[in-house]
């Protein structure tokens, strides 16, 4: 099988460098497939070395969620090799395009990494195993049915003869892949389904250069950039004289939307950037602020006729007939992803007209397309080296702004590799933010306290309109803005969901579990309904969930594990919420106390999650902890405010992350019921905010209808 042109080329470069510099530069070449000429690609996913080392190619990205290891486990399970000899490498986006997109989707978002590639990666493993068996049978001149593959060895059962995968790979690769393969019953898994150590961790604890910010190339320069602080604005003029006079500064690059300083170290580039005198053309957006954005959303709510994302029965009649009507309005601010690794892209436009890019991306193919477009090169003339991501959370998938910028800078410095890294301030102020939204809910209860009608009106900017305009439904519905209401699991006979798409000038994007604020609104409002009906919040929900609904199952599991209804230490109160999304079902119980001074402390979170199957239970638990920490920041502190058309927050001092002391105990109950594949990267954040806010209500009698909590006075009256 052909090894990628770019990969071979890259190997050549690194060989030429093998004195001194190669150490920092060795990461993309560390790919085992490139290192040994004798290694055989059995199929696109699997490379086997003569000494039985197996390299599994991973098309999705790794940002800490564990997909890199989980997918390797699934392939290794079906291949039935020795896990101790397995390593993984990222599939090359360039090769992917040239080989007719052989690795399926490279997009890493929506908790899709495992669940939407599990079928074809398992088949790749099973197919390779059958080819190895066939190769052994051919060698021994025996029927393949007499041979068994296990732990990297094919055995001829009647005679006990054995051949190792490493001895068979070359012959196996020459065989035609089987037409149809049978996948193992997950009940029989030996490698998948187990809490194996993640493959990427050892390098990370050693401080190896695995991230985009760590890329080092011969003669490489560094760049820092300033973008127009007002979204949509342009550079009007630049006076670069003072900057160019500073030590190490090589060039000032002016583009339509940003100015970059290129220097021999990042600090020098960034110091020089501060000396630029830039005038911006703010494109008429310089007046926008929190107030104008709220007014825009409220005007949407007031609209008489809006597109309907769901209509069931007759909501007006249902409300008119109700014994009791409950109404509430909830809202949330814009939020930034604030990945710990700022947006970064290294680009090198080589004299022969080939572009190489190193970046932290959630979609290698999208990065390749963006780089090629920015360079004016065909896709085959570009390679993207996917690095480990220092966090992603949705920031590095759809928007490839950082890749376009990195390539634009490289074009201005032909032949020289340039590593562009954003300062934290740029990163905070040039995000694709979780949309701010306002939602009104009106529900009717009958005499028995059952919900008979629910009318929801959502005013929210559309992520799809910004990033995937073709995916906005013809009637103006963005599913990510209406989810959790448009697919309400509760048995409410009369439902209507109206959606006011109001976009404004702030770019919005997929922030961990896009649409997750709707779960906050819905589950807090359901808590309000339970209180109005005088019922226990768990009982109230169970009564409006169908038998067999998996939301029911996880709700019962979480309530049981948390000891719902049992005594708690003085001052500690419980809240509950349930929601499904990203293929899984998640319910949570939060234990919270509120001090006399109004200080909120989250002590314990109990999550029950049904994802159908579990590929690595330890990684799934880690993702639960991750969702709690990520969501907790947005509950307690975080908001992105807009003033004079620009973002007010600039760094972690005013966009605060929870610290060690604030992290609650997280207990995760995995309740996989089989038969489907759900995600783990995002579902657990859905019930978090409402569970915590409902616990605050239990503690204080106060409803938290907007976030963050720092704006609420929860002191005891």
């Amino acid at each position: 099988m052909t090894i990628a042109l770019s990969r071979r080329e890259f190997l050549k470069v690194s060989t030429a460098l093998s004195g001194g510099l190669a150490l920092e530069f060795s990461f993309p070449v560390a790919s085992a497939a490139a290192a040994g000429a004798a290694a055989t690609e059995v199929n696109a996913w699997i490379v086997i070395h003569p000494d039985d080392r197996v390299v599994i190619r991973i098309a999705r990205s790794e940002m800490g969620q564990g997909t890199y290891t989980a997918l390797a486990q699934l392939v290794a399970e079906e291949l039935d090799c020795d896990w101790a000899k397995v390593s993984a490498e990222f599939a090359s986006p360039n090769e992917h395009v040239r080989r007719n997109r052989i690795w399926g989707s490279m997009s890493t978002g929506g908790s899709q990494g495992v669940r939407s590639s599990q079928d074809y990666v398992r088949k790749a493993g099973a197919s390779a195993r059958e080819m190895l068996v066939a190769a052994a049978a051919e060698k021994w001149k025996v029927p393949a049915a007499e041979c068994t593959a296990a732990s990297g060895i094919v055995t001829h059962r009647p005679t006990g003869r054995r051949l190792r995968y490493g001895e068979l790979a070359a012959a196996a690769a020459k065989l035609a892949p089987p037409q149809d393969v049978r996948l193992r019953d997950p009940a029989d898994w030996k490698i998948a389904g187990k809490p194996l150590h993640r493959l990427d961790i050892p390098d990370k604890v050693r401080g190896k250069p695995v991230f985009a910010v760590d890329v080092t190339l011969p003669g490489m320069l560094h760049a820092s950039i300033a973008q127009c602080p007002v979204f949509g604005g342009k550079v009007a003029s630049v006076d670069a004289r003072a900057a160019l006079a500073l030590r190490g500064v090589k060039k000032v690059v002016r583009e339509e939307g940003f100015v970059a300083v290129v220097a021999d170290s990042w600090w020098r580039a960034n110091e020089a950037l501060k000396k630029l005198k830039i005038e911006w053309d703010t494109a008429g957006n310089g007046q926008a602020d929190n107030r104008s954005i709220a007014a825009m959303l409220r005007a949407g709510l007031a609209e008489a006729k809006l597109p309907q994302a769901r209509k069931l029965g007759d909501v007006q009649a249902g409300l008119a007939a109700a014994a009791k009507v409950v109404e509430a309005e909830y809202q949330s601010p814009y939020l930034n992803h604030a990945t710990m690794e700022p947006q970064t892209c290294t680009a090198w436009l080589k004299p022969e007209g080939f572009l190489e890019v190193w970046t932290s991306t959630q979609n290698g193919e999208a990065s390749l397309a963006a780089a090629a477009e920015a360079a004016g090169l065909p896709l085959e003339k570009v390679e993207v080296h996917k690095m480990m991501l220092g966090g992603g959370f949705g920031r590095r998938g759809g928007p490839q702004d950082f890749v376009r910028q990195g390539v634009a800078i490289a074009k201005a410095m032909p032949g020289v590799p340039v590593k562009m890294m954003w300062s934290r301030e740029e990163d905070m102020q040039h995000g694709f933010y979780r949309p701010a939204s306002i939602v009104r809910m009106k529900a009717g209860l009958d005499n028995e306290g059952r919900v008979t009608a629910l009318h929801t009106t959502i005013a929210c900017p559309s992520i799809l309109a910004v990033l995937m305009p073709n995916s906005v439904q013809r009637d103006g519905i963005d599913f990510s803005a209406v989810r959790t209401f448009s697919d309400l699991p509760y048995t409410v006979p009369n439902q209507q969901v109206d959606y006011a798409m109001r976009n404004g000038h702030v770019p919005v994007g997929f922030w961990r579990a896009p649409g997750q604020q709707n779960a906050y609104y819905r589950e807090c409002f359901v808590d309000e309904l339970a209180a109005a009906a005088g019922k226990d919040p768990v009982e109230f929900r169970l009564a409006i969930l169908n038998a067999g609904d998996k939301n029911r199952l996880v709700l019962e599991a979480a309530a049981k594990a948390a000891g719902w209804g049992t005594a708690l230490p003085a001052g500690v109160h419980r809240g509950v919420a349930v929601a499904d999304g990203f293929g899984s079902y998640a319910a949570m119980v939060a234990e919270v106390s509120v001090s006399a001074a109004g200080e909120v402390r989250v002590h314990r979170i109990v999550l029950a999650i049904d994802s159908g199957h579990v590929v690595n239970p330890d990684t799934c638990r880690a993702q639960a902890e991750s969702n709690v920490a990520f969501g907790l920041g947005s509950i307690l502190y975080q908001e992105i405010n807009v003033k004079d058309g620009r973002v007010v927050e600039s760094n972690f001092h005013d966009f605060r992350l929870p610290a060690m002391a604030e992290m609650p105990k997280v207990e995760t109950v995995l309740v996989p019921t089989g038969g489907f594949w759900g995600g783990h990267g995002e579902p657990a954040i859905l019930p978090l905010t409402p569970a915590v806010c409902n616990a605050i209500y239990a503690a204080t009698g106060k409803r938290v209808r907007s976030l963050p909590l720092k704006h609420h006075d929860l002191r005891r009256a």
Partner: protein
Amino acid sequence: MLKLNVNGRIRTVDVEPEMPLLWVLRDHLGLPGAKYGCGIAVCGACTVHVDGEPVRSCALPVSAAVGKKIVTIEGLAATGLHRIQQAWIDHEVPQCGYCQTGMIMAAAALLAKTPKPTDADIDATMTNLCRCGTYARVKTAIHALAGQSVAPPANKARGA
């Protein structure tokens, strides 16, 4: 020219005295283990040891480190893996891993002074920020290193 003692070696660098130590390490000495996260000494991703103390190297002018012993993640273990790095692997601490080199350096400084830290000790001294939410596992790993009783990691089928 400045002379620096980094990971037990004397290194000479020709940089501005006000350049933060972080950038000298990353861009001039080829030691990228310490990370840039905020540049204002808040997040701790850049934590290294200077004379045994954990410092935010993004906000320390390199001139202030002259004549002192600088240790980075690359120099934490004389050979192989430091026991803290091994504990981080055993307890599967990192997620994205970006903040973890700083987290490990902070933990090393804590354990050197307080061999058996309580949760409160850890909360008070480990102020490094992690966006992925590894805090609970950081604590588990530190307690394990201190020889205090903690639940063993879930059945691991393979060491790293």
